[in-house]
Amino acid sequence: MKEVIKLEKIAKSFGNHQVLKDVDLSLSTGEILCLLGPSGAGKSTVINITLGVEKADGGTAYVFDEVMPKRELLGKLGYMAQSDALYESLTARGNLTFFAEMRGIAKDQLAAEIERVTDIVSLTDALDQEVSGFSGGMKRRLSLAISLLGNPELMILDEPTVGIDPALRRQIWSELYKMRDQGHAILVTTHVMDEAELVDRVGLLMGGRLIANDGPKELEAQYQVNTIEDVFLKAEEEGQND
């Protein structure tokens, strides 16, 4: 186990609005960390600071033991955004090739790598079709495939299962578990509470603070409820009573 992400006392404001206050968070290889929180709690900001899109006002973000933002580190992580973010007029292969080149994957490994990731998301048959003709689920799978390029040690996925059918959701999660078991570190945000039941650790973000950070079973015991959904609701209630 190697620590891949380490956020120390991260604070971030946009204008007068403080989005994050003193957030400490860490993620190691072979672990899936799920960030939960209501809209506007700062999940995306945590991801953006980890990616170096934003710079923290206070505290330090370490990724692979180096201080973010650092451009070179981005080659070692795979990122999947909330939106599909695909070039619609290109084929699936065109999209994969382009992003592989951006990630700096060597030319001689390109074809094999594209084959590997499309096989994982079962898009091999649609590889040479234009993305504009893809269904929503296919686009999502292609988006995931792009983030898998280069088999990055760290995966950051912002709501990977939003708007897709249950079968595909299961497929994506089984892929994520498989990657974890192979020693990848995975940071994921979600709105689907039962997805959080099966991860290794849940970080609960509310009002810009990380109010809980533990395994799902431990959290359920701590809040004396049976599901993560109830943990979420109870935490939200307590937050409002404060």
């Binding site: 899109v53 933002p69 992580l77 070039y87 290109l90």
Partner: protein
């Protein structure tokens, strides 16, 4: 470098799939140039209708003999004036009791007013001359000397640019060649980066180790290819189909247009960061693009007020138009246009630096 090429290749592939945009880039300029050529050819000779009210016969005949003038006779000033109101005539010429002339212009078309003014002056001079030569003839008869009024001579006309059929279109054509490149590259590149931003592909791109400069250079590379193709088509079309003469080197035209396209690209990318939708991008046309055309030299810049000329100096299109005009109409080479090219280059460097820095908004490194 490989990333720059990959980005350029991707942008060009995307464009190739977008048939309508391709048609806009390559066919629309040809269509507009053809229309302009047609319009300026048929209005190239201004003919004027002049109403005359009781003027000397000599004056009347003098006018009638002049080319492109229709003389209409009216019995009263009132009738002539009302004809002018009804737009039947462009000017009313009447003679006062003391022998002076009054001319009343409609002046709704200043070119017709100017033409009438010139025609009248000519007729006056001619009448005076024929009067003079008559007097000389009578005087010489009285003195008994045969006057030598000089032999007839011919005037041979030749032209530095074009021929006797060259129209106004020829003088604005070089400006429009550049303007089309400017307009299309500005719009398409701006919308293209905007789409990357709104669709999220820019965020995804910036989550890879790509440099911000590599993204901007990728855009530049792909749009210089577009500019080269567009210029080549426009130049070929104007020379071979519209029969417009280009005195200077076509290579210099390409060079000017590539630089102009890159400036338009950098400006389009920069402006697109201020827009949040394609619709808002279109709204920048009157603010950013139209002034470029106004100060491009279609209206001669040296006739403008000093402060207006200063505005023109700040717009890249002015330098491109100037260089294009020098090459097309005056056949000048690189030695004459390098200052304009330098000005374009300075715009390019500043705007590009602005863009590379501006992408910091989307990623801090």
């Amino acid at each position: 470098m490989t990333r720059t090429f990959a980005i350029a290749k991707r942008i060009l592939t995307e464009l190739l799939h977008d048939k309508r945009t391709l048609a806009m880039i390559f066919i629309a300029p040809m269509l507009i140039l053809t229309l302009m050529n047609y319009v300026f050819n048929i209005t190239s000779s201004t003919s004027v209708d002049i109403a005359t009210v009781h003027v000397e016969q000599q004056m009347d005949q003098g006018l009638a003999k002049t080319k492109n003038v229709n003389v209409k006779h009216y019995d009263s000033k009132e009738a002539a004036d009302s004809a002018l109101k009804d737009q039947k005539v462009d000017a009313v010429l009447s003679q006062t009791s003391d022998g002076n002339y009054d001319i009343f212009y409609a002046n709704t078309d200043s070119s017709k007013t100017a033409a009438t003014r010139k025609i009248l002056a000519n007729v006056f001079t001619q009448n005076k001359l024929s009067g003079l030569s008559q007097q000389v003839a009578t005087l010489s008869q009285r003195v008994g000397v045969q006057p030598n009024l000089g032999s007839n001579f011919n005037l041979n006309e030749s032209y530095s640019y074009g021929d006797k059929d060259t129209t106004f279109f020829a003088s604005i054509m070089p400006i429009f060649m550049g303007f089309f490149v400017f307009l299309f590259v500005f719009l398409i590149s701006g919308v293209s980066l905007l789409k990357e931003r709104t669709k999220g592909t820019l965020s995804r791109l910036l989550a890879t180790p790509v440099r911000r400069s590599e993204i901007i250079y990728g855009y530049m590379l792909s749009y210089s290819v577009i500019a080269i193709l567009q210029t080549a088509i426009i130049v070929f079309f104007t020379i071979s189909v519209l029969n417009v003469e280009v005195l200077g080197s076509v290579w210099n035209l390409l060079l000017i247009n590539i630089l102009l396209a890159l400036v338009a690209l950098a400006l389009g990318l920069l402006v697109s960061t201020l827009a949040s939708s394609e619709f808002q991008m279109i709204q920048f046309i009157p603010v950013v693009v139209v002034p470029q055309l106004i100060f491009s030299g279609i209206i001669p810049l040296n006739t403008m007020a000093d402060w207006a000329q200063v505005i023109g100096d700040c717009l890249p299109m002015k330098y491109a138009s100037n260089a294009m005009t020098e090459v097309v109409l005056h056949g000048q080479g690189f030695g004459q246009i390098w200052t304009d090219l330098l000005a374009l280059f300075i715009f390019l460097v500043l705007l590009t630096a602005g863009n590379i820095f501006g992408l910091r908004r989307y990623r801090k490194v």
